[in-house]
Amino acid sequence: MDLFLIAHIAGRGVAIDTTQIDSVVDLSPVVAVPRAPSAVRGLVALRSRVVTVVDTGIALGLAAMPADARRAIITRLDGHHYAMLVDSLEDVASFARQPLSSGLALDRGWAAAADGMVERDGEPMLVIDLARLVPAPQAIAA
């Protein structure tokens, strides 16, 4: 049994392993990063640290998050902090992680980000690996 945070991303309920979560915050205004991949919404100051804000909608290959999305999960990857925007948060609970049901055809970004599933009151939920939602560096478009 692991601890998971239940959140909503792109209108779906997902479970996120709490070991990946640094904190949960409401973001102050975001400063854009011109020329960065579209999934990078910008930079934000979190205490004395600069955090890169990730639009999880775009990262999943879906529609962009609304411009006023403020709630985010802070995660750390390779020494950098990222704020992953979410629609809303529910609660934290322990679940047993299960492998994805066989034959389940996930689409677009979901397939890349999924890392198993959990069952809450009979409702299956995808486990999302935040690290896989962090935009990878793209080659410079000349």
Binding site: P34, R35, L43, R47, V134, A136
Partner: protein, 768 residues
Amino acid sequence: MDDLLQDFIAETRETLEALSGEIVAWEAEPTDRARLDAIFRFVHTVKGSCGFLDLPRLARLSHAAEDVLAAVRDGQRVPDTALVNAVLAIVDRIGEIVEAIDSGSALDDSSEDLLIAALAEDAAPTAQSLPQSSMPNRTNARSVRLNVDLLDRMMSSMSEMVLARNELARRLRDQPIEPLVEGALERLSLTVAEMRDTVTRTRMQKVEALFSALPRMVRDTAAELGKQVQLTIEGSDVELDREMIELMRDPLVHIIRNAVDHGIEAPADRRAAGKREAGRLTVSARQSGNQILIEISDDGRGIDTDRLATKAIAQKLHTPAEIAMMDAKARLDLVFHAGLSSRDVVTAVSGRGVGMDVVRANLENIGGRIELLNQAGRGLTIVIYVPLTLSIMSTVVVGAGGQRFAIARQSVEEILNVRGEAVRVDRIGDAAVATVRGRRLPMVALGSLLGLDRADAAEDANGKLAIIATRDGDYALAIDTVLDTEELVVKPAAPAVMATGVYAGQTLPDSGLPMLLLDGAGIAAVAGLRFHRAAPVEETETVEAERGISALLFEDLDGERRVLPLAAIDRVEPVPTEAIRRTGGRLRLAIGGALVPLHAVAPIGSRSEVPVLRLTDGETDIAYAIHEAIEIVTLPRDVAPAEGAGTVAGVVIVEGEQIELVDALALFAAIDTAPPADRLCLLQQDAGGWMDTFLRPAIEAAGYRCVATVPPGASADVIVTMDAPPPPDADPAQVVRLRRERTGGDAMSIYRYDRPALIAALARAAGE
């Protein structure tokens, strides 16, 4: 070695403290594998360190305990109470010995055999009755070991504190505030600034940490190549940000390996070239302002620039015409080109081609730069300049498309108004070109490059041009506004952001909103600018001259405002007042281990720190203490000469005010610098060392270099002797004889304390 020992003691003490809980738990449950492992690791570490530090007693104890614990781990022995007690007795004894080493007291070692014997499987249960040795007095630790993480956290809390203070100041500014509150805020600001300084210092480490591995590396590399290298290290006590030290490690190793491999020749070649068989390699560090200079110099063969040029043509990096247009420096810089090495043979030591280009890129990433001083056939000196600390960078904050960006100040050459007289913007095809005082520069509009605005910034009458210098060439960056200059703490941004190629990092300025630091060279690359090593720009010199001389306007110690031409000023820096003292007849400033003559027009007073202008004429450094620097002004052409002699050259009008122009020439002329010691004086040494102690300083002050034996190949200009006979082959006219008695003796000799006569005799003998 002492440092290592101190580290070992601190580490062992710390582990023991952490381990005490484990020991108790293991005692309660000897089968607990995790506890066993923890104790095993401890004795294993101690054993390892002891071999290294040559501590045989500790090594013997820890070795015995390790053996037993290994047996337990393998299941060969059962951890019964006797065994646990015996191991714990050894752990305790290790702690006692470590304390004894630290306090320097002796500890009886008679019972150690018993302790070890108690570990044996068939040991009689005597372990309990071991003599309890009294704990030696523990010395007070003067230093503590800290995790770098903790220091980083401290640094970030510090930044947070600065932010909080700024916000407070901002809020207070919006409303009328009481003088008392203002005073408190002022005090808070001072404390915060001081603390920031202290916290920064906690991250400093001696550059020794970087240099200590060099002797071994040089020895090994030289041995591998069959060369002899004599390494000299200077300035190990210069301090540098510890992160910077780590980042410097690879480039330095690379440069030194290169020097030994490519620079210094094989002994036979050196003999043929008339050099000593052992090559000389000097590595030195020193601080200059807010930079650290690391100099690596060898007396090897230097870089063959002609061969580099030939290779560059062969590899089609440059056309022969381009090479022909390059000056010596540009050709030397070819060595930084990827894939180009001055050496044909690839050795195991230095790789091939990859090398100096990577070294330079790495140094530039940390805000440093590298310079080469090449003397073909006689050696190469590489100077690395790195900022004192990684974390703080001086930047210009600019606005483009409604957003703020920072640019490193060192890469901004100047900032001009687009509509200024000196600037013309043209379109050639679809490219924009800015002509600045006759110099044609490619132009990049920052706003449109970043996709921030459609309008062409160059069309905007209020727009500005920043001339950005990159190592390939200069270009004009069109921006909307210049907002500020700021000292910023710059950190690398997330990989996805860095991959855009136009940013060098991110920072959190006092405004509390994150800001991106632009990468000047990256922007040129993304904008597709291609630079050629073009013919040098002519005529700029004359244009510069017409602009008038830049000078620093400052308030002097006597309250007067004065100016001094900028070209004469090396830098302005605050120094502690106690570093300035009247010694040897004049004011001197002790700085960086050297004495610098200091001018002060009035007493410095009771302040603890005073800004000084550091002036240099290339050979002599002097300092000029001032009250404070005001601004940089352009001097008018007309200077009214001053009446009489002094350190004031004349009077100029700056912004309608009469300002005295300080005469840099007179400042240097007033300094009694010793004339260059080019005349060689041989002292025929006496047994008592009187000559060395009494005579030598006086003679050296008169401009002679004193030696006890004439180096081969040189000849003495003058020979001073007292009791000993002069060398048989000496020209009698060159010999100055001294006598001990005031009167009498040899008429040709000089009484040894008659200084004027001696100096005159020396000058005569030296043929002047």
